[in-house]
Amino acid sequence: MKSKTENQKGWLFVLPVVLLVAFNAIIPLMTVVNYSVQETFGDNRFFFEGLKWFVQVLHSERFHASLGRQLAFTGIILAIEVPLGVAIALAMPRKGPWVSVCLVLMALPLLIPWNVVGAMWNIFALPDIGMLGKTLNSWGIDYNYTRQPFSAWATLIAMDVWHWTSLVVLLCYAGLSAIPDAYYQAARIDGASSWAVFRYIQLPKMKRVLTIAILLRFMDSFNIYTEPFVLTGGGPGNSTTLLSIDLVKVALGQFDLGPAAAMSIIYFLIILLLSWIFYTLMVQGEEQ
């Protein structure tokens, strides 16, 4: 591959993008920063408070609790969706009419509006009249996601696995279908086991798309709001109140602008930091 040419005119090409994104990102972000250092009593007068809100949020048990729940949620869904997605992608047919059928059906959950996903699982899991809840209860399993935190978590995770595993599958499948047949033929001649084929041919080829899949799933699961909000509303109690839900409660529910803004910034910085760590680790792994 030839190297890129030095050309400052590149800036002209990216200018519309920069302007549009900056318009959306920088001004609202500055508003948030502005609120985060001020106190208001609702009469449009603001007083400078310095870092008071940041200190308050960082020391609040409520924030620690929702951050803990958020990390647990993201960790669990990554641990389920990534291996499951890889396994399904490996088992999918490579050729023939079934490929399109599989792809279309699997991509379906990705294109359903998030609140519909929440509503769908809500009515699917209702303990008395929902298909899932009714079935579980008739098997003698005590299940009620509006009352028991454990059921609520199980439903939440099942919903996310249902919703997003397909993204991992599609990405991995794309990586797998880029492997030339000759590789497999060579492996067969060498008498390689299917584990060896996976370890030395398929996994390296999937590494790049897998990186993207993990990054996207990490970012999106950390930002998740609509689905759990519609499904459980953060309850029962606070048991499924993830970071976004907590943030919206503080910002729009209680209208505590200062703490909400400080929380937003801390939240954003956490995502940024974790994404950056992920990214560097995986890019390094790729280079080795």
Binding site: G10, V14, P93, L108, L110, V116, M120, V209, V248, S264
Partner: protein, 266 residues
């Protein structure tokens, strides 16, 4: 072992289809039947829920509103992302890597963080409750994504193509529109698909930025759910209808998706 491989995707698809089946079957039931007890399929098949949606303007306008801003956003995002992705894939310029990463950080921003400032900002501009407001707001995460996908595709097009065209006497814009864009059509398709998808499924910002005139279908659903109590059948019918546009789009791009990711740097 090999022979049973088809079981894995089949079981997975079955798992995917179960909640969707439940939603669709519920949309053909009357409220009485839903609340009356558990029935695996509609005993008294009714189209009442759908009739209500297609005759009540507050319902069907929701779909029209959603489609308008989604299409606006998709066109806008892809249009501005095209030259930018070209620059990122072909040129080196001051701060290009930092700029690329900064763009991506906007993809990571939680929508909840931006909900309140967006509301104030777009209200101040007089854009509150317009299609443009939602279309612009969704650019925040769709433009970075479109640039990211397109850059991958464009980098896989050999640079010799550009050079040959310039030697043949093509001006830049003529080359870009006549040769380069058709060459990367698959990438544009994939990028447009993802912009459509993320704009279509997003609710928090769309809901925050609209009240009546541009209210998306997703917001109509949540408001109806809370105001009219327990009209599950109606809610299910509305939900079923939101699946259709996505299903149509996905059918058209099904062959590009797999190929797209394989080529792209995504």
């Amino acid at each position: 072992m090999k022979r049973l491989q088809w079981l894995v995707p089949t079981l997975y698809i079955l798992f995917l289809l179960l909640p969707i089946y439940w939603l669709i079957s519920m949309s053909f039931k009357s409220t009485n039947e839903i609340l009356g007890g558990f029935t695996l399929w509609p005993q008294h098949f009714t189209l009442q829920n759908y009739r209500k949606i297609f005759t009540d303007p507050t319902w069907y306008n929701g779909y029209i509103n959603s489609l308008i801003y989604v299409v606006m956003n998709t066109v806008l995002s892809v249009a501005v992302a095209l030259p930018a992705a070209y620059a990122f894939s072909r040129y080196r310029f001051l701060g290009d890597k930092h700029l690329f990463f900064w763009l991506l950080t906007n993809r990571m921003a939680p929508a909840a963080v931006f909900a309140l400032p967006f509301f104030q900002f777009y209200s101040a501009l007089g854009l509150f409750d317009t299609y443009i407001a939602v279309a612009l707001a969704h650019c925040l995460f769709n433009i970075p994504l479109a640039v990211w996908i397109l850059e991958g595709f464009m980098s896989s097009v050999p640079r010799e193509l550009d050079e040959t065209a310039f030697v043949d006497g093509y001006g830049f814009w003529r080359f870009f529109t006549r040769i380069f864009i058709p060459t990367t059509a698959a990438g544009i398709g994939v990028a447009a698909f993802f912009c459509f998808m993320f704009s279509w499924v997003e609710l928090l910002l769309a809901k925050t930025l609209t009240s009546v005139a541009a209210k998306p279908i997703a917001a109509t659903m949540t408001r109806t759910a809370s105001s009219s109590g327990y009209e599950l059948g109606l809610l299910a019918a509305a939900g079923t209808l939101t699946i259709i546009p996505g299903a149509i789009v996905i059918y058209f791009v099904r062959n590009y998706i797999a190929k797209g990711f394989a080529l792209g740097r995504v």
